[in-house]
């Protein structure tokens, strides 16, 4: 029996406001026994995900906090390097929500408690990074939020906020293929051009340019772009004034799928948003929050097949930004909040 080296992302200190850094997340060296106990797998990470929702793990006041000295959890793509479980064979590739380690032993019981999905045979080896993107949490979020929460009809108009992010790009392309008119918000002219030219959005709104004009300008631009009937649907990833601007432009029978709140993740306390109950009554509007769980675990639908088919037929083009090595994870994570990334941020181990 010998031991194998592993490296793990650990919470070093809480970060209750502002941009997280290496002060808050460190990489620890450790070892894993080479002898596998019964009923377990040893997993070799191929790709680690960096996602905005992980920000709450670094807060001392969040129900999802992780104490300093414990491992950060997130989505990863891993290959089974050894197995004493019947369900997983050596060489299998899976996606899962687990501690972010380069090498780890996971019991069958622990696997049963978390989201896992099989990637073996779904795509060629060179595209396994999709397991933290279109074939992972962002894909499940896009499919679930669009088709089961918003329930689009062809010809309807959808606004996607933070449209150039991992989830937003998938939602926009899936919706367009479904016959929906798609509007995205993004920061800067370059991202807006990309939305329209590369990802087929019908319209793009530069929220930074709108903010430079003044309060109310984002709402005015959304209203003008939506047209006289207003928005039928909003896939909302931002929060604060973006949420409120979109809400005020919502038309008859409009609905908002609440997916994220990127504008607030680095704030000390969550800024609440204002809504008008009377508006919601007279237009029969709906606001619905959701997390990807039911879709990611295939309890609802089969997002893997939906996304695989959409990529195969070209209706969805995947955009990934790679960072190299677990030490770069914090840089990848920071890029989610400074507006620099487009599409899915992936750390290659």
């Amino acid at each position: 029996m010998s031991s194998l080296p592993t490296r793990t992302l650990m919470v070093a200190a809480p970060c209750d406001a502002g941009m997280p850094s290496r002060e808050h997340v460190r990489v620890d060296e450790g070892t894993v026994s080479s002898e596998l106990p019964p009923g377990a797998v040893r997993l070799r990470a191929l790709y680690l995900s960096a996602d905005p929702y992980m920000r709450s793990q670094l807060r001392s006041n969040s129900p999802r906090k992780i104490a300093p000295g414990e491992a950060l959890r997130g989505f990863l793509v891993a290959r089974v390097e050894a197995s004493t479980l019947e369900t997983w064979a050596v060489g299998d590739v899976l996606g899962a929500s687990l501690p972010l380690s380069t090498l780890q032993v996971v019991t069958g019981a622990a696997l049963a408690r978390t989201a896992t999905w099989r990637l073996t045979g779904l795509v060629e080896d060179a595209r396994l990074s999709l397991g933290v993107g279109a074939l992972g949490m962002p894909g499940a979020t896009a499919v679930g939020g669009l088709f089961d929460v918003l329930r689009p009809q062809a010809g309807e108009t959808l606004l996607i906020t933070a449209a150039s992010g991992a989830v937003g790009l998938l939602v926009g392309q899936l919706a367009r293929a479904h016959g929906v008119r798609v509007i995205g918000t993004a920061g800067g002219a370059a991202k807006c051009a990309l939305l329209k030219e590369k990802f087929g959005f019908h319209e793009a709104i530069d929220y930074k340019a709108a903010a430079a004009v003044g309060a109310g300008e984002l709402e005015a631009r959304i209203r003008a772009t939506a047209g006289p009937k207003g928005l039928d649907m909003v896939f909302e990833n931002v929060g604060t004034t973006t949420f409120e601007s979109a809400f005020r432009c919502l038309g008859m029978g409009g609905r908002i799928a609440v997916c994220g709140g990127i504008a607030a993740y680095n704030e000390a306390t969550e800024p609440l948003v204002h809504i008008s109950p009377l508006q919601m009554i007279y237009t029969a509007q709906r606001i619905e929050g959701f997390v990807c769980g039911p879709w990611l675990t295939l309890q609802r639908g089969n997002f893997l097949e939906t996304m695989r088919a959409a990529i195969a037929d070209g209706s969805v083009v995947v955009e990934e930004t790679f960072y190299e090595g677990i030490d770069a994870w914090i840089d990848a994570f920071r890029s989610l909040f400074d507006g620099s990334h487009v599409g899915k941020v992936v750390v290659r181990v």
Copy 2:
């Protein structure tokens, strides 16, 4: 050809804030021709409804405003006194949303544009007032909001705000018969006792007593009454801090049916409510506004049969407060806002 006398409720002047009075709504004398044109009915009103939603007709700034000098619209129960329409015979009784007149001629085209429902044969003549209550808009609102918007499971907990009103009393009793644990808010100990003793609510919260203790007390009482898992459902009729208190007590998978905003109807501008998008995401919560239209017109379900059966088997006890004569309509309407009424307010013509 002769003419028949009629009396009609007219908007006399807009009322943009505060309690409406005879200054804002007057009764006009008029006549109706005794000779009926082709394709029309002459309707003799039996009961006129007074409902909170009508408040917006008196606002100069509402999309639902009615100009001074025009008739107020509302729900009524009427008997067909003459008919040149195949669909309605002399003696038929119907519910409809129409100008509030004691006698009026309505064309088939006008009937087709508004909500109408047949009451003939549904209940005995002495109970026809139910056509503006349990067998009218409040019944359709209760059935639609409870069964199709909230979609209750037996064993879940439901909070009804303004529970002693026309809609709230029906919702509470229908929900209890469905196996739901029912909590109601009402103003004062007497109404709270009535909710539990006469209408079978499991718990009642006196919002006036809570307000007298201080800010946060209503939320604390809702939380304590709901229990550790929080509220599964809210049937919301009030708005403002009541909405916000209920929202903060909403548990996993919780949903709010937004039905009314009685706290704001006499305010000059609608007070918005604060919600937390992040709370809604992590608990997969839903807020949904609705109006009774699809249920009242029987496009969705059959509220008439649901309510008739619930009254017949005793699971719903109906509470009505009568005012006598069209001149008393404004008093009936005012009672909706001063906390003095319980159940359905009906004006007997």
